[in-house]
Amino acid sequence: MKTEELIAALAADNETRGAPMSRAFAVDLGLGFAVSAAFFFATMGLRDTFVASLSEPRFLFKFVFSLTMAASGFFLAWRLSRPGADPGLASKAVVLAPILVVLASLAEMAATPSNLWVARMIGHNAAHCLMAIPAMSLAPLAGLLLALRHGAPSNGRSAGAAAALAAAGLAATLYAMNCPDDSPLFLAVWYMIATAIVVGVGWLAGGRLLRW
């Protein structure tokens, strides 16, 4: 086929256009998060002290941390979803959540005697955290990867990793409503390890699935 002929075919196909990127992100991520939320409330649910804890700064910080992670990952994935887009500030914003948790950990260490540090870091059920966060990340990650496939990221691995950060942030938000451990020291170790696992999966999946 000559190029001129291909152009005629493309012009004839102008009636069929892809949905806007914003709709793809909203629908695919919305569905993915709904699946994880349903799973969370069916199997874990809010912890008994949930309402009473709403005035505790340590408990509230868990959500500041997880939602910062979710928002920065989402923002970066969104920026990386188009060819040649400049991620700009979005690529720097991903360090916000880790910085927050380090600062909060330092504050925790200043506020508590050093003989409690290790116990707070180990917490009650680290293994549960390491399984629950990656498990609840899967559906939102799948949704975001689908939205990115609808797009055209120049760098599939980075886009996949950013999507995974967003998914892990959302999963951590759900998990934090059940998890009995509120110390920033616990977040800094176990939530971060769980997130790193998910980001690694997103990086690998992005390299394979986000080619176009």
Partner: protein, 190 residues
């Protein structure tokens, strides 16, 4: 203000019209873009040590990609950097297919636009047949694409000739174009 901006105004306006459903503007845009894309691909092929016979394949692959991904263009941004990024991505794939690496700089498009256009070689490429993957499509998709491309019929006329509804033909053309893009990508992943 760099020179390419004024050119980009025209292209961006045509793309906005195309996205709003203006097929004439779309065809005009694709025709106007082709020499630009060809020059990007020529440069990249030369740098990767790929034969000139690969250039037109890369141009057509880029056209297909920009067509199937045109909803990813942010209409508040200039069109040219977006186009150059798509061309770059497709050139990297094409080079990988040949087991080569290509270093393309996106910022390069400014030089490409500033360079003088159509010499004899470019005109020769224009006449070259590329996209030999057409034979690998299903009969239905191939017939649909050939009708609107090689015979240049409108969707309505082609539908009448082939004895199918216009809607069904539209679907076949779109699926055929998607299959062509997939065939290119599979050739890369091999």
């Amino acid at each position: 203000m760099p020179d390419w901006i004024s050119q980009d105004h025209e292209w961006s306006a045509d793309m906005r019209a195309a996205l709003a459903g203006d097929g004439v503007a779309y065809k005009r845009l694709l025709t106007a873009l082709t020499p630009f894309l060809r020059r990007i691909c020529m440069k990249a092929c030369a740098r990767a040590g790929m034969p000139a016979s690969d250039v037109e394949d890369a141009v057509q692959e880029t056209l297909l990609a920009l067509h199937l991904k045109r909803h990813t263009w942010d209409a508040t941004q200039p069109l040219t950097p977006w186009l150059a990024a798509i061309a770059r991505n497709k050139m990297i794939d094409a080079a990988r297919r040949r087991g080569r690496r290509v270093e393309t700089d996106i910022a390069d498009f400014e030089n490409v636009l500033a360079a003088p256009g159509a010499d004899a070689f470019e005109r020769e490429l224009d006449r070259q047949d590329a996209l030999r993957l057409l034979d690998q499509l299903s009969a239905k998709q191939r017939e649909a694409i050939e009708a609107v491309s090689i015979r240049g019929e409108s969707l309505r006329d082609a539908a009448r000739t082939l004895g199918v509804s216009e809607g069904a033909l539209r679907v076949s053309v779109h699926r055929g174009l998607k299959s062509l893009a997939d065939l290119y990508r599979k050739a890369t992943e091999r």
